[in-house]
């Protein structure tokens, strides 16, 4: 019997491709945001609101990750924005090599911002670096204020946190102060943006944060 010490990273391949993606984006001065959330939290609505607020100021493309179908990319393309659909065929998260293929299709030198809509999932998406500049998590009010307690990883690893459907707060048993207090222990440096994406409420602060990210490119 022979023992071989390795100490190699399990997702070494993913991390290497993510680093290549990051370098490619940097060379082209493109900022990439990895948007994480559970299904139905309003990722696509948030992207639409973001496009509407930013489309005159910068060139945007969207990479849509779904297990199947092209519903979201069709919706985004209807806004006149480039969208690439990735179907993960059962996989619960996007990986860096899928993004590398999508970046191949996009005209990077004409873009300022890429928003990646990850597969709806609060767990698996957290562990895979795609080469993004920032992970951003969306939680919607109907999902409940206990999500950071149940899924701490995604709230810890995100650089910004969006609370969507804030206009429904009075209809649900969502204790915002309790939610904010748990997030403060987990990730005090991440700003929280309270928005109602479909109405455009509260979107300004989120857009200002994104513009700051773009400036730093």
């Amino acid at each position: 019997m022979t023992k071989i010490d390795l100490e190699t990273k399990i997702i070494d391949k993913n991390d290497r491709i993510a680093a290549q993606n990051r370098e490619l984006l940097k060379q082209n001065n493109v900022c990439m945001i990895n948007l994480l959330a559970s299904p139905g939290s309003g990722k696509t609505s948030t992207i639409i609101a973001t496009i509407n607020a930013l489309k005159d100021a910068c060139k945007i493309a969207v990479i849509e990750g779904d297990i199947a179908g092209d519903v979201d990319s069709v919706t985004i393309k209807a806004l006149g924005v480039d969208a690439v659909q990735i179907n993960t065929r059962g996989s619960c998260h996007l990986e860096a090599d899928m993004i590398a293929q999508a970046l191949d299709v996009l005209d990077l030198d004409k873009l300022d911002l890429i928003i990646v809509e990850n597969v709806g999932n609060l767990v698996c998406t957290t562990d895979f670096d795609l080469g993004e500049d920032a992970k951003v998590v969306i939680l919607s009010v109907p999902e409940g204020d206990d999500k950071p307690i149940k899924y701490p990883g995604i709230f810890r690893e995100s650089q910004a946190i969006i609370v969507n459907k804030i206009d429904t707060l009075s209809m649900f048993d969502f204790d915002y102060d309790k939610f904010a207090s748990v997030v403060d222990d987990l990730n005090a440096q991440a700003p929280i943006f309270k928005i109602a994406a479909t109405k455009g409420d509260g979107i300004e602060n989120w857009i200002d944060w994104l513009k700051n990210k773009l400036k730093k490119q």
Partner: protein, 122 residues
């Protein structure tokens, strides 16, 4: 269920090393997994057993997982402290500016192989 793709990656990496060492069999895969990752022990074991069935090189292989506790250092006061998944602030000065020293590992620590020589190299 990202444990299945993680486990596939583990088998791919280990198989390359095993081939370099002319292994007849891989008898142990030992992993270091940080407690701040999203990896679930039962799901990892399940993925290991499912994939193992189709891989003759691993028919007698055992999976051992070492879970690594979380440890951080405060940038403000330089305090080093262990903590759980939920409380990341410095317990000494309360600062949120901390850097994680351990607990995010997802590493293949080591493997054991039978190389057919019949000698024990450990």
């Amino acid at each position: 269920m990202h444990e299945l793709s993680l486990m596939q990656g583990i088998f791919d990496s280990v198989s390359k090393v095993a081939a370099q060492h002319n292994a007849q069999e891989v008898t142990l895969i030992e992993l270091d997994i940080g407690e701040m990752t999203q990896v679930v022990d039962e799901a990892l074991q399940f993925a290991f057993e499912v994939l193992q069935e189709d891989l003759p090189l691993y028919r007698n292989c055992e999976l051992k997982v070492n879970y690594i506790p979380v440890r951080s250092k405060c940038i403000e006061c330089e305090e080093e402290f262990e903590h759980d998944q939920f409380h990341l602030k410095c317990p000494k000065c309360g600062s949120a500016k901390t850097v994680c020293l351990a607990g995010k590992e997802m590493n293949i620590a080591c493997i054991e192989i039978e190389d057919g020589s019949g000698t024990n190299h450990t």
